[in-house]
C-alpha cells in the first residue's frame, strides 16, 4: 500500500478475505434464522484461507514483517549481516520451492491416481491445491524484493554511521 500503489497480491488477498467473511456471515445467518446449513461454505472458506495465507506470507516478505530473532543479526558487521540476509532469503525461497515441488506432485497424483474429491462441493481436490503454486509466485517475487530492500537498508545504515 506504500505510495498508494495498488499491489495485485494485496488486492487479491483483500478480496478473498472479504469474500471469506461475507460467506461465513451469510452462512451463520442462514443457519440461525432459516436453519439451512451450507457445508460448502466451510469448504470454500478454509481453502480461501490457505490461499490468503500464501499471499500474506508473500506480502510480509517484502515488508520484512515476519517474526524473527534479530538481536544477534542487528549487531553483526556489514558483510556478515548481508550474508545472513542472503542466507535467510535463500532458505525461505528453498523452503517454498520444496513445498511447491510436492504440491505439483500432489496435483499429478490426484489427477492420475487418487481423483480425490472435496468434501462438500465434490470438486477435484487439486483445484484447491493449485492455488498454492499459483500464489507462491508472489512469495518468490517478494523474497527477492525484500532481500533487495534489506541489502539497501544495510548499506544505508553503514553510511549513516560513517557520517556521524
Amino acid at each position: 500500500m506504500e505510495g498508494n500503489k495498488l499491489k495485485i497480491e494485496e488486492l487479491i488477498s483483500a478480496i478473498l478475505l472479504f469474500a471469506m467473511a461475507s460467506i461465513a456471515f451469510v452462512n451463520v445467518l442462514s443457519r440461525k434464522i432459516f436453519h439451512l446449513s451450507f457445508a460448502f461454505t466451510e469448504e470454500v472458506t478454509v481453502h480461501f484461507f490457505v490461499w490468503i495465507t500464501v499471499l500474506g506470507i508473500a506480502i510480509a516478505f517484502e515488508k520484512g514483517a515476519h517474526l524473527g530473532v534479530v538481536t544477534v543479526y542487528n549487531k553483526l558487521p556489514k558483510t556478515l549481516k548481508k550474508t545472513a540476509a542472503f542466507i535467510s532469503a535463500s532458505l525461505s525461497a528453498l523452503l517454498f520451492l520444496i513445498v511447491n515441488y510436492y504440491a505439483f506432485r500432489e496435483i499429478y497424483m490426484d489427477i492420475t491416481i487418487f481423483h480425490m474429491e472435496s468434501e462438500a462441493l465434490r470438486l477435484p481436490e487439486w483445484i484447491y491445491i493449485i492455488g498454492i503454486p499459483i500464489f507462491s509466485v508472489f512469495i518468490f517475487k517478494n523474497i527477492y524484493k525484500g532481500l533487495k530492500n534489506e541489502l539497501k537498508k544495510i548499506e544505508g545504515e553503514e553510511e549513516k554511521q560513517c557520517k556521524s
Binding site: E10, I57, R105
Partner: protein
C-alpha cells in the same frame, strides 16, 4: 543425532535472524526429507495445517480489531478510562491498563493491542510528564492481557493443538485476565507513587463520565457481542469473529462514520498480513511437531520431566519456568506447537485439567511478549515512543514480576480459571 539436526537447524537459523516460519519450516522439512519421515505429505500437510475451520477465527478477529481501531473505538475507551481514574496517582498508567483490559476483549493479539491502545494513551501520558519508556512498558505489559482476555489467538492455537474447546478456553480467560490486570495496576501504582507520576489535574464530573460512557457505548458493546454469543451458546468462536467483523464495519461506517472504503481495504490487507505471519509459523510448526514426534523427542522429554517433577504442582511450576524461559526467545505459536505435544502426556499422567493448564500456559506466553530479546509488544511500544527495545525493557521488569506473581496465584487456584466455563455449562473438567 537426528533430534540434534532438527533442533540444531532451528536454533541456528533463529540465531542469524531468519524468520521463525522459515527456521521452523526448514528444520522440519529438511529432517522429514533427510530421515524419510514422509516427504510426500509436505505440501498436503502445509495446506492441512491451515485449512481448519476454527483457525479462521484468527484473520476475522484480527480484522475486527483493526476495523475497530480505524473506527477510533480505542480512543473512546481510553478517554472514558482516563476520566474515571485519571486523577489518581499513576492515574494514566492505571487508565492504560484498564483500556488494555477492555481492548483485550476486542482484540486477540498482544502487539495489535499495544499499537491500538498505545497510539491513544501514550501521547497523553508523555504530555502529563510520565517517563516515555515507562509509558511504553506499561502499555506493552498490559497488552499481554489481550491474549488472556478473550478473544485470543493464543487460545485458538492452544485449542487447535490440544482439542480443548476454544469457546470454553475463551470463557476461562476472563477472570484470570482481570486478576492479572489487577496485579499490573498494583505494580503501576507503586512505580508511579515512587517516581511521582501524577494524574491529570481535573476531576471528571458525573456528567463528563456519562457523556464519555455514551460516546464509548458502541465500543463497550463490542465485547458483549463477541463473548455474549459464545456464552449463550449461540455462536462458536469463529462465528463470533465473523459477527465482530460486520459489527465493526457497521459501527465504523454508520455510527461513527470514521471508516472509509480505503480504510476497509487497508484493514483487510493488514489483517491478511498479521494472520499470515501467524499462520506461517502455525503450519510449519505443525510439521516440526510431526518430525519431533517421529524422531522420539516427545517421549524422551515427557519421560524426563515425569522423572524430575513428581507431583502435579511441581509439573505446573516446572512448566511455568520452561514457558517463561522459552518465551524470551520464541513467539507464542511456536512455543505452543513445540511444547504442548511434550506436556500433553505428562498432564494426562498427572490428571491435570487441559483447560486449566491452557490458561496458565497463555498467561506465561503473555509474559514472553514483554521479555527481551524477542518481545513483540515491547518492540511495537518502543517504536511508538521512538525509543529502543533495551530502554523500554529496563522499565518493564516490574510488570514481569507482577504477572509472574499473578501466574503463581492462578497456578495454585485452578478453580479461578475453571469457574466461568463450568458455571456456564460449557465445560466439564
Amino acid at each position: 543425532m537426528q533430534i540434534l539436526t532438527l533442533f540444531g537447524i532451528f536454533a541456528l537459523l533463529l540465531l542469524i535472524g531468519v524468520p521463525i516460519g522459515t527456521s521452523v519450516g526448514f528444520a522440519a522439512v529438511f529432517s522429514i526429507w533427510k530421515y524419510g519421515l514422509g516427504v510426500t505429505m509436505i505440501s498436503r500437510n502445509f495446506a492441512s495445517g491451515i485449512a481448519k475451520f476454527p483457525l479462521i477465527a484468527i484473520p476475522f478477529f484480527v480484522l475486527a480489531g483493526i476495523l475497530m481501531q480505524k473506527a477510533k473505538l480505542a480512543e473512546k475507551i481510553s478517554n472514558l478510562a482516563t476520566i474515571i481514574v485519571g486523577r489518581a496517582t499513576g492515574g494514566l498508567a492505571i487508565a492504560g491498563v484498564l483500556t488494555c483490559l477492555f481492548w483485550g476483549a476486542v482484540s486477540g493479539s498482544g502487539p495489535a493491542t499495544t499499537a491500538a491502545v498505545g497510539l491513544t494513551i501514550i501521547p497523553v501520558m508523555i504530555y502529563q510528564k510520565y517517563d516515555k519508556n515507562f509509558s511504553a512498558a506499561t502499555i506493552a505489559a498490559a497488552s499481554g492481557l489481550a491474549i488472556i482476555i478473550p478473544p485470543s489467538i493464543a487460545f485458538i492455537v492452544y485449542g487447535n493443538v490440544t482439542g480443548v474447546s476454544v469457546g470454553a478456553l475463551f470463557l476461562g480467560g476472563i477472570l484470570p485476565g482481570i486478576i492479572i490486570g489487577l496485579f499490573l495496576i498494583v505494580a503501576a501504582y507503586f512505580v508511579c507513587k515512587k517516581r511521582n507520576f501524577r494524574g491529570i489535574k481535573k476531576r471528571g464530573t458525573l456528567k463528563e463520565i456519562l457523556i464519555a460512557t455514551k460516546d464509548a457505548f458502541w465500543a463497550l458493546l463490542a465485547p458483549v457481542i463477541i463473548l455474549g454469543g459464545i456464552y449463550a451458546g449461540i455462536a462458536t468462536p469463529t462465528e463470533a469473529a465473523v459477527f465482530a467483523v460486520f459489527y465493526s464495519i457497521f459501527v465504523g461506517f454508520f455510527v461513527y462514520r470514521t471508516l472509509t472504503l480505503k480504510g476497509l481495504y487497508e484493514a483487510l490487507v493488514g489483517a491478511v498480513i498479521t494472520s499470515s505471519v501467524a499462520m506461517f509459523v502455525v503450519t510449519f510448526a505443525t510439521q516440526f511437531s510431526i518430525a519431533s514426534a517421529i524422531l522420539g523427542v516427545i517421549d524422551i522429554m515427557a519421560d524426563g520431566i515425569i522423572s524430575i517433577a513428581k507431583t502435579p504442582i511441581a509439573v505446573l511450576l516446572l512448566a511455568n519456568v520452561a514457558i517463561i524461559i522459552a518465551g524470551m526467545f520464541l513467539d507464542a505459536i511456536s512455543i505452543t506447537y513445540v511444547f504442548m505435544p511434550i506436556f500433553m502426556p505428562i498432564l494426562a499422567y498427572y490428571n491435570i485439567d487441559l483447560l486449566f493448564f491452557g490458561i496458565i500456559f497463555v498467561v506465561a506466553l503473555a509474559i514472553g511478549q514483554i521479555t527481551p530479546p524477542v518481545a513483540v509488544n515491547l518492540y511495537v511500544a518502543a517504536n511508538l515512543v521512538k525509543s529502543t527495545l533495551d530502554k523500554v525493557a529496563k522499565e518493564v521488569w516490574i510488570y514481569v514480576i507482577a504477572v509472574i506473581a499473578g501466574l503463581i496465584f492462578l497456578t495454585f487456584f485452578p478453580q479461578i480459571s475453571l469457574y466461568i466455563p463450568v458455571a456456564s455449562g460449557l465445560y466439564i473438567p
